[in-house]
């Protein structure tokens, strides 16, 4: 029992936490190579050499930062990502954090991520990092409602807030087909929570790196690692909520989850650079005027479907 409830789920969570960000970096390299003729170190070694370079780089200091918050923010972001991964059910029995409200707990991880990313930019006490932090809060407050409506839509057919029940409710039909608006909207949330691609408002190049403009060394390594780990955790939740989690023929459940997570990661790694970054003002308008009503439509769709 201890093997099923503790050892195996935790092993998978930790493996995903370590391997996931690395594979994401490799996928990023693959996408970059396929989109343009970049020459450089091999895609399998590049993430490791970049990580080693950050690790031995000296750690930057700014004038009068909020030292504790600044040092803690990357670690807290990583902790939130690990907490998100712990919610992913790897099989019917292998769930690291199996509580009745795991779907809501993921929602709170998204909400707390906003606080942590704001802290990262605010506590450095420099101009560009602060602009990045405020931009991220504007984005975070916009996408969090979309995320909640989409997730409530997933909970409706399951008649439960537990992610395991959400998966068993997809026995006949996966939610990606049952609620066609759900996954596209949720993928946008994933890009926003890790500020990648079109939604990279916080750490963008127009702010010389935004919230991490003045962060270097091991602190920067943890920050970038946490950003990737958060996307891995997000892909785990997307797999659970829309792609049937462990459900699938022939292979054991945990492998299905891992394959589906990789597929979602590859899609997100392609979506990021495929779309241009949106201006912050237009991005917020897009979220509230277009995407939020679409999330309403998704929720109504899910409700009607659950009643029929």
């Amino acid at each position: 029992m201890i093997l099923d409830q503790l050892v195996w789920p935790l092993t998978w969570v930790l493996a995903a936490l370590v391997l996931g960000p690395y594979l994401l970096a490799v996928l990023d390299g693959l996408v970059a190579r396929s989109l343009g003729p970049t020459r450089g170190p091999g895609i399998w070694l590049a993430p490791l050499s970049r990580g080693a370079w950050w690790l031995i780089q000296h750690t930057n200091v700014t004038e009068a930062p909020d030292g504790r918050a600044w040092r803690l923010a990357p670690a807290l972001y990583l902790a939130l990502a690990a907490g998100g991964l712990a919610l992913v059910p790897w099989s019917r029995t292998w769930v690291a954090t199996d509580i009745a409200t795991s779907l809501v707990l993921w929602g709170s991880i998204e909400a707390l991520a906003t606080v942590v990313i704001f802290l990262q930019g605010w506590s450095a006490n420099t101009h560009l990092t602060l602009v990045g932090a405020y931009r991220y809060v504007a984005l975070g407050l916009s996408y969090i409602l979309i995320s909640m409506f989409v997730l409530i839509g997933v909970a409706l057919p399951a008649e439960s807030l537990a992610l395991t029940q959400v998966i068993t409710s997809q026995q006949e039909l996966w939610n990606v087909l049952r609620q066609p608006l759900g996954l596209p909207l949720f993928l946008i949330v994933g890009l926003a929570i890790t500020f990648r691609g079109p939604f990279n408002l916080a750490d963008s190049t127009d702010l010389a790196g935004g919230t991490s403009a003045d962060v270097s060394g091991a602190q920067r390594l943890v920050w970038e690692f946490a950003r990737s780990a958060m996307l891995v955790a997000f892909s785990g939740i997307a797999t659970t909520a829309f792609l049937g989690g462990w459900l699938g023929p022939w292979l054991p459940g945990p492998l299905w989850v891992a394959f589906k997570m990789l597929a979602v990661l590859a899609l997100l790694a392609w979506l990021g650079p495929a779309f241009a970054r949106i201006t912050p003002e237009r991005c917020v308008s897009l979220m509230w005027v277009v995407l939020l009503p679409l999330a309403f439509v998704d929720l109504i769709w899910a409700g009607v479907e659950a009643l029929l």
């Binding site: 918050a69 509580i99 909400a111």
Partner: protein
């Protein structure tokens, strides 16, 4: 699986953490820091609610307070003219009244904790806390909760509309006007209007 000792230890640690961070709210010198210390305190209380098997309310505390404290920090910085919130400022005022109110409420709450008789009713094993909470919220008490919800929403919108009517540089409807260099003086840094020229000719002097 029950670990009463582990639950007790977790409760004591979380309670101490909640009290410590709650105390730090008033000892720090920045509004942003104060908001996030309050957030930490609420997170510890939410975890205590999880220990009490309030599975939904405990988790709801995390996301409610996460967004709420973020918005609160932001609005305090916007409306209280302390850009970025890193400038040191005094977080307490009205000392005598605050000390009196603090002592009075501590005595009342402590007396309740010591003197009140709390019922000893262990949860039945088959109780489903989340569905029963949902039935309560959207069943018999629906009218109450929905009316309170609509009133709160109307209050929030009203407060934002009223408070944002006059911004830092004047009425919101008239566009941004920087304050003058001397009290009551001309807006600083604004180019003089040359009406006779016309024709959309804008430049800085």
């Amino acid at each position: 699986m029950n670990f009463p000792l582990a639950v007790d230890i977790a409760f004591i640690l979380l309670a101490l953490f909640a009290v410590y961070t709650g105390w730090r709210v008033f000892r720090t010198d920045s509004m942003v820091r104060a908001s996030f210390f309050l957030l930490l305190s609420f997170i510890a209380v939410g975890a205590i609610m999880l220990l009490l098997s309030a599975m939904y309310l405990g988790v709801a505390m995390f996301f409610m307070m996460g967004v709420e404290m973020m918005v609160m920090a932001l609005f305090m910085v916007m409306f209280m003219m302390n850009p970025a919130g890193l400038n040191p400022m005094m977080m307490v005022h009205q000392h005598r009244l605050a000390i009196g109110a603090g002592i009075a409420s501590f005595v009342i709450v402590a007396a309740m904790a010591l003197l009140a008789r709390f019922p000893h009713r262990p949860l039945p094993a088959d109780l489903q806390a989340v569905p029963s909470l949902g039935n309560e919220l959207l069943g018999e008490s629906m009218l109450i909760f929905e009316s309170v919800g609509v009133v709160l929403l109307a209050t929030m919108i009203g407060v934002v509309v009223l408070s944002s009517q006059r911004g830092r540089y004047g009425n919101a409807g008239e566009g941004s006007m920087p304050p003058g260099l001397e009290p009551g003086g001309e807006p600083a840094g604004m180019p003089a209007k040359d009406d006779e020229e016309g024709g959309g000719h804008h430049h800085c002097h």
